[in-house]
Point group: C3
Chain length 206, copies 3
């Protein structure tokens, strides 16, 4: 019960965070506000939609529960106005993107496991749910996707790391819990931020 | 009966119009004709395919009725040859794109409502059906999508405006009619053209 | 039985080949290895996923049989390391891309026919399965897709040619056979390579 609510709120938080990254990634402030909302919606709901459709889980999450849609719209609009008063959109974008990556990867993993998918597929869904929305955002705004940039940072690696840690711990614990979720989300978020801040990267030979 | 035929023809007209925008957006005239057809098909059937798959409406429209496929192919081929004799492809593209936006938005809205989707989801599907094909076209030809360009024109706003007008009028009238369809399509087309021609845009503070 | 195995191996070979093209198309060698794997997976499984979802064939091929996922990952990793010692990635990419195009087009055609799709839809699925993965790869790495490049080469035309030859021969023979598959795949591969090497293209008026 309470766990269910925790998951639901984490999911909506992920939507809000990704919608904001979409809104502030928009190329220039003279953009039509609806364009900003479209970008926010696609960024925040794109990954989960691909996951649900690939696993044949219908209705798709935002078709069943329109709260997702309203959170995405509200966050985009708020970000649109707030972005005039925040001076470092690029840094905010990277921070929020890392948070969304952490939330969505673990939640995507859980939904795939709950749908009976094999573990490899669930890990794949974790990465898809975490990175696909951001990839679409970067494509639409004419950027090479963060996940593919050549700056040697970790990105998909962080999602993979957290997903594998979750699978391992879950097989030992035998049950889901908010602590497991939070600690594996923390692995993803911290490894991503560490990579950004400290230049942490895979060894040269990899 | 006659209303059904009106919808069907309007849908095929939308396919034809978007296929033409795909074909004339192709980067240069030395393009393989099949490449032009691929671009025409993706532009004209992409939005509807995303809508049908998201709503779990199977078979997808062009799988069930191959007329859609033939109209897309025929229009692309015709546009490919005609584009050698028309001097202002850019202006034609914007005009046809506005027409396709109007047709597909309202038809997408109706299909979503007919499938039992909530009104917010239906409005979302109107915008998706109207703009997704053109977004894919712009991505594939290496352009920032029209919907996201920073020139201050209205684009997604027009589709939204028409969709909201439809929902409002439909709840009052209680029944669908060609006049309702045509007048809401006109709202979209005229607001988009007005925005292009007269530089109509949202107020500065938005 | 043996024919089934032939198809299965050809399909996995197509996955391996496209995964390699994804991996070597990655923009620069300092890319995170997971980024390379993501690109390899999307390139090799993207086309088939779009096909399966459009035809409502669930579970999607790599959800049902995770061998596909492992082949894509293994090939991407191998290509990642091998690409340091191969001097002409561009030429390798075009060669492997042509091979993948041939394999996936014919296999996509067969799956669509087996699912009861009309012949036009099956031909469309052949082209989608053959070209979509490569289009996504090119989009993600910031290139105009090969299928749309203005160099006058044949690309989608080759897939179409092979698919039409298959449909024609199949209606005469009345049964599937490895020889039919291999010969129509050869038509695609050879016409594509001929177009690349000898500059073969459609007549000027087309």
């Amino acid at each position: 019960m309470i766990y269910h609510e925790f998951i639901y709120i984490a999911d909506l938080l992920g939507v809000a965070v990704f919608a904001v990254t979409g809104a502030i990634a928009a190329p220039g402030k003279r953009l039509d506000i609806l364009g900003v909302i479209v970008l926010g919606i696609v960024t925040s709901l794109g990954g989960g939609t691909i996951r649900d459709i690939s696993l044949d889980l219908h209705p798709v999450v935002w078709v069943e529960d329109t709260t997702y849609l309203w959170v995405a719209i509200g966050s985009s609009v708020a970000a649109f106005f707030a972005s005039r008063h925040i001076s470092s959109p690029r840094r905010s974008l990277l921070f929020l993107d890392a948070l969304g990556l952490a939330l969505f990867s673990i939640l995507g993993l859980q939904k795939a496991l709950a749908a009976g998918a094999p573990e490899e597929v669930a890990v794949m869904m974790a990465v898809i749910t975490g990175v696909a929305g951001g990839m679409i955002r970067d494509l639409l705004t004419g950027q090479i996707p963060l996940v593919l940039q050549r700056n040697g940072e970790l990105y998909a690696t962080c999602a993979l790391l957290g997903a594998l840690a979750y699978i391992f711990a879950y097989s030992r614990l035998g049950e889901a819990s908010p602590w497991l979720d939070i600690s594996t989300m923390a692995i993803i978020f911290i490894s991503r931020m560490a990579s950004l801040v400290a230049g942490l990267q895979l060894p040269e030979f990899i």
